[in-house]
């Protein structure tokens, strides 16, 4: 963050903004807000040992929203002028069916987020193209050095520098600067005419030095190469119900899909979530405590404030197996009469605010990770995953392993090909019988999609044992 965001950086005065707020906040409107955003994204990518692509995008605009009861009126514009603001305000207000009768809007007092979870000066966030190029070249060399069977390395380094400001009819006037970056490596390995791939990546709301700490970028290259080489010897995955041990970190995508989406307030207000009637009920075993926490410094899913200007927080979703709370934005919190948790997020000024996760993880337990593996006679040990998906209403979710092994007689044995795991959200965590003491957060690669909007998120997990889940391999 590091600097106070000013309305003048959007070419507007406080008077313009208060004027537009007054125009949209007519009597029948419960709440109105304006969200200003300017964003610069840059990407450099490499393949075939050539850093041959560079892109840069600049966007700016404003989203104006009015809510009346359950209704939302929304308009956006990529023009930051007084007439454009007024036109968007009039459109958003249409929802209230009340063309006139402006309401008194409190004069907002400009605030500054009370903490700085990503103290990166603008100068540090700007990375010279030449530095990006040498980073990617070094990754290519490292991955090929790892094993001569690595035949192609594809890597990209992306940065985003977003400046936002929220002005709302509840007196909010607050801005934030939100840097974000990510390094992604994919390797293709080839042996005897057979090809495989491996991927690894990470990042966060961090400066360029993050990638050099302990030669992190080279580790990413080796990890991607290692997974590709490992998968060359992978055997067919088993099919059917069996115990599964999930490794720490990114396998926390289980929590995101199995319960996280189901606990977003909008689905529960509308009672279309499989969790709609389960508050205070047992949805997990005693050893499971799960939180959503947007306040972890530098993490990909963290924010000083959400996109409605509410400070992010730490929300306990499940405490010792009992469902404790939902994650909310202002609209759903108001309609449901529950606290605002600072989870109102949007992809950009062009999208509406929805309750979304930040960093979602399970707290550490007491089991020894090795003991957890030893406890399984025949099952699967999955340590890395691709994407996942959930049907909120029937609670069925999937997530797909990209690095997994058989457990035979309490020992990790052969690597198996990727397979999708499928289960039921309200049930799966009741089958978690052991939780390791080794909580790990992911490296910072997660992007969550909902209603066509993508936002960066984090997950985390200690090693856990799930007594039974359906594994979608090919070997019956």
């Amino acid at each position: 963050m590091g600097e106070l965001v000013q309305l003048t950086s959007f070419g507007l005065t406080e008077g313009d903004v208060i004027g537009a707020l007054g125009r949209v906040k007519v009597r029948a409107v419960d709440y109105a807000d304006l969200y200003f955003e300017s964003c610069v994204s840059e990407s450099v990518s490499m393949e075939e040992s050539l850093v041959k692509r560079a892109t840069k995008s600049v966007s700016q605009g404003v989203g104006i929203r009015a809510t009346a009861g359950e209704k939302t009126g929304f308009a956006y514009s990529d023009e930051l002028t007084k007439p454009a603001l007024e036109l968007a305000a009039d459109t958003a207000r249409y929802i209230a069916n009340s063309p006139s009768g402006a309401d008194a809007v409190p004069v907002p007092v400009r605030q500054c987020p009370t903490r700085d979870l990503y103290p990166i000066e603008r100068a540090q966030a700007e990375v010279a193209t030449a530095d990006r190029v040498s980073l990617l070249n070094a990754i290519d060399a490292e991955a090929r050095r790892y094993d001569p069977r690595i035949k192609n390395v594809m890597a990209s380094f992306n940065t985003e520098y977003k400046v936002v400001m929220v002005a709302a009819s509840d007196g909010t006037l607050i801005g934030d600067v939100q840097p974000l970056s990510r390094l992604q490596v994919t390797c293709i390995a080839e042996e005897n005419g057979q090809r495989q791939s491996g991927s690894f990546g990470g990042g966060g709301r961090v400066g360029f030095e993050f990638y050099h700490e302990g030669d992190r970028y080279l580790r990413f290259a080796r990890e991607a190469a290692r997974e590709a080489i490992l998968n060359l010897s992978a055997v067919e995955a088993p099919a059917g119900v069996m115990p599964v041990v999930l490794g720490g970190g990114w396998p926390g995508i289980l929590l995101h899909e199995a319960i996280g989406h189901g606990l977003e307030a909008d689905f529960n207000r509308k009672k279309t979530s499989a969790f709609s009637h389960l508050l205070g009920k047992r949805v997990a075993s005693d050893v499971c405590t799960i939180v959503d926490d947007g306040t972890l410094p530098g993490r990909r899913g963290s924010l000083n404030m959400d996109d409605e200007g509410t400070p992010t927080g730490r929300t306990v979703l499940i405490e010792h197996g009992i469902l404790r709370g939902y994650i909310t934005d202002k609209l759903n919190a108001r309609l449901m009469g529950i606290p605002v948790t600072g989870n109102g997020r949007r992809e950009s000024y062009q999208s509406v605010v929805l309750p979304r996760m930040t960093n979602t993880f399970m707290l550490a337990g007491t089991s020894d990770p090795e003991e957890i593996i030893r406890s399984v006679d025949h099952g699967l040990y999955a340590v890395s995953f691709g994407g996942g998906q959930v049907d909120i209403t029937n609670g069925k979710f999937v997530f797909s392993a990209s690095e997994a092994y058989l457990i035979e007689g309490g020992k990790v044995t052969r690597p198996v090909k990727g397979a999708t795991l499928i289960g039921s959200g309200p049930e799966i965590l009741t089958k978690v019988s052991m939780v390791g003491h080794d909580l790990k957060l992911d490296e910072g690669i997660g992007t969550c999609g909902k209603e066509g909007q993508s936002v960066p998120v984090g997950v985390g997990l200690p090693t856990i044992r799930i007594d039974e889940i359906t594994v979608g391999g090919t070997q019956g």
């Binding site: 450099v44 075939e48 050539l50 850093v51 041959k52 692509r53 560079a54 892109t55 840069k56 995008s57 600049v58 966007s59 700016q60 605009g61 359950e70 209704k71 939302t72 009126g73 929304f74 990529d78 002028t81 459109t91 249409y94 193209t129 035949k151 192609n152 293709i188 057979q194 495989q196 791939s197 995955a237 099919a239 059917g240 509308k270 009672k271 279309t272 499989a274 062009q350 691709g386 994407g387 996942g388 998906q389 049907d391 209403t393 029937n394 069925k396 999937v398 797909s400 090909k417 990727g418 397979a419 999708t420 499928i422 039921s424 359906t470 594994v471 979608g472 391999g473 090919t474 019956g476």
Partner: protein, 455 residues
């Protein structure tokens, strides 16, 4: 913000001016895409308006070549100062990357000459109340069709229209307009005995408003698809024949479409690398990509580089006959572009389908189900369990269990797994029910055995 060029009519001139400026800044070649459009969307829920969204937006994307080096940029800020800066920055960025021997614009003589009118634009404008009414009618039809439909994620009506202007330093300058109208409904049904809920949805999308299915038809189909899922259960793990309904089969065509993209192929990241002119499927399988279908949702007169679109036979009587290529990936593989450059503003061109489809057969879905003693009829697929490098396939599925040639009961919380190469080779029957609801479409398809994992 002064000197803003807001008139659409000015976009062609803007493109020409910026191309000239790029040349002055050191670009040896350049192209530019300018897109603008307006969107209006209505969502109603349980009979009341839930969300109205209205917007107008514009973007400009610039790609420059400095010799064999290239960079792409984009902006939504069309002020003169901002655009001048963009041109300068793009040229600096291009100089920072390495030379790529095959980079560059398409050859001059390949640029699209004739620009057929593909009937992609409808000037119909509906007012807010009309759109709300259409969304309400669609949702109401779903809600009232069956008492087990108890809730709703909403009924939607969306309309959009826009214009694309593309120009390059060869002197190519083209533009076209397009529009789209869509209705969708997502009902929730509750099992009266268990209380378990299911959700599904149905939709219609067309470039012409008059061609859109009635809101009632969309709502009724959405309700039918939702209610039939009630009482779904798991089945035991077993290997059985699988019938993909047209939506699920469409997703298989989407997988094939990714695998024949020139970019996946030259990187060695496709399971179809090296298989051109080799048999992929039985000889009754033919797959096209047709950029010139009149009124098609993926149709356009020229592609993202200004090359003419065309009809490409991707699979002809079972044999993989063509990849989908733009200029760059074509050069990498030693072929001419197939006119499939797809251009997100601010990105380098990549390859995308136009109207990509499996040619229909003669069977009805029922005929195909009748041939299965014990098997699975798939209607929903979830997750991302596909390895495009190897073709390994493992996805969450839901649908119906087939017993004695008939749909017996709904199933859920199962996976289906195999390898895409085996799955295409194992196509046994193709339905007659081809309907385009997007750029990729398929009739119902019956495959040989796949592994179903459940209990």
């Amino acid at each position: 913000m002064s000197q803003q060029i807001q008139q659409r009519e000015g976009y062609s001139q803007l493109a020409v001016d910026l191309l000239a400026k790029a040349k002055l800044s050191g670009a040896t070649e350049a192209d530019i895409i300018i897109a603008d459009g307006e969107t209006f969307s209505v969502q109603v829920r349980l009979g009341a308006v839930d969300r109205l969204t209205k917007a107008r937006e514009k973007h400009l994307g610039l790609r420059v070549f400095v010799g064999k080096r290239s960079a792409s940029t984009s902006t939504s800020d069309f002020s003169a100062d901002s655009l001048n800066q963009l041109v300068a920055e793009t040229c600096i960025l291009a100089k920072a990357v390495v030379e790529d021997p095959v980079s560059g614009l398409p050859a001059v003589d390949q640029m699209a000459g004739e620009r057929p009118d593909l009937d992609l634009y409808d000037s119909t404008r509906l007012n807010t109340e009309q759109q709300i009414e259409l969304a309400k009618r669609a949702e109401a039809a779903a809600m009232s069709s069956d008492e087990r439909v108890t809730n709703s994620e909403g009924g939607d009506f969306d309309s959009s229209s826009g214009r694309v202007v593309l120009g390059n330093s060869h002197g190519f300058l083209g533009e076209y307009q397009s529009s789209s109208f869509s209705i969708s409904v997502s009902p929730v049904a509750t099992d009266p005995e268990s209380g378990a809920m299911q959700r599904d949805s149905w939709y219609a999308v067309q470039r012409k408003f008059a061609k859109l299915d009635s809101p009632e038809a969309v709502g009724l189909e959405a309700a039918r698809r939702t209610v039939r899922k009630l009482g779904a259960r798991k089945v035991s793990t077993q290997r059985v024949p699988v019938v993909f309904d047209s939506e699920a089969a469409g997703s298989l065509m989407g997988n094939l479409c990714s695998a024949v993209s020139g970019y996946s192929l030259y990187k060695g990241a496709s399971f179809l690398a090296g298989l051109l002119d080799k048999p992929l499927a039985p000889e009754f399988v033919t797959i096209y990509d047709d950029g010139r279908m009149v009124g098609g949702l993926g149709s356009r007169p020229f592609d993202g580089e200004g090359l003419p679109t065309r009809r490409t036979t991707v699979v002809e009587r079972g044999v993989l006959k063509s990849y989908l290529l733009d200029t760059y990936s074509g050069r990498k593989l030693g072929f001419a572009s197939t006119g499939n450059a797809s251009r997100g503003v601010g990105e380098n061109p990549s390859v995308g389908p136009t109207n990509f489809y499996l040619a229909p057969g003669s069977k009805t879905a029922q005929d195909m189900i009748k041939t299965v003693k014990q098997g699975l009829y798939v209607t929903d697929l979830i997750g991302f369990g596909i390895n495009m490098v190897t073709g390994d396939y493992s996805r969450g599925a839901a649908g119906f269990w087939i017993e004695g040639g008939e749909l017996a009961y709904p199933v859920e919380e199962i996976t289906i797994a195999g390898n895409l190469k085996d799955m295409f080779a194992g196509i046994e029957m193709i339905g007659s029910d081809l309907v385009f609801r997007g750029r990729i479409a398929s009739p119902t398809v019956k495959l040989g055995e796949m592994m179903v994992a459940g209990n």
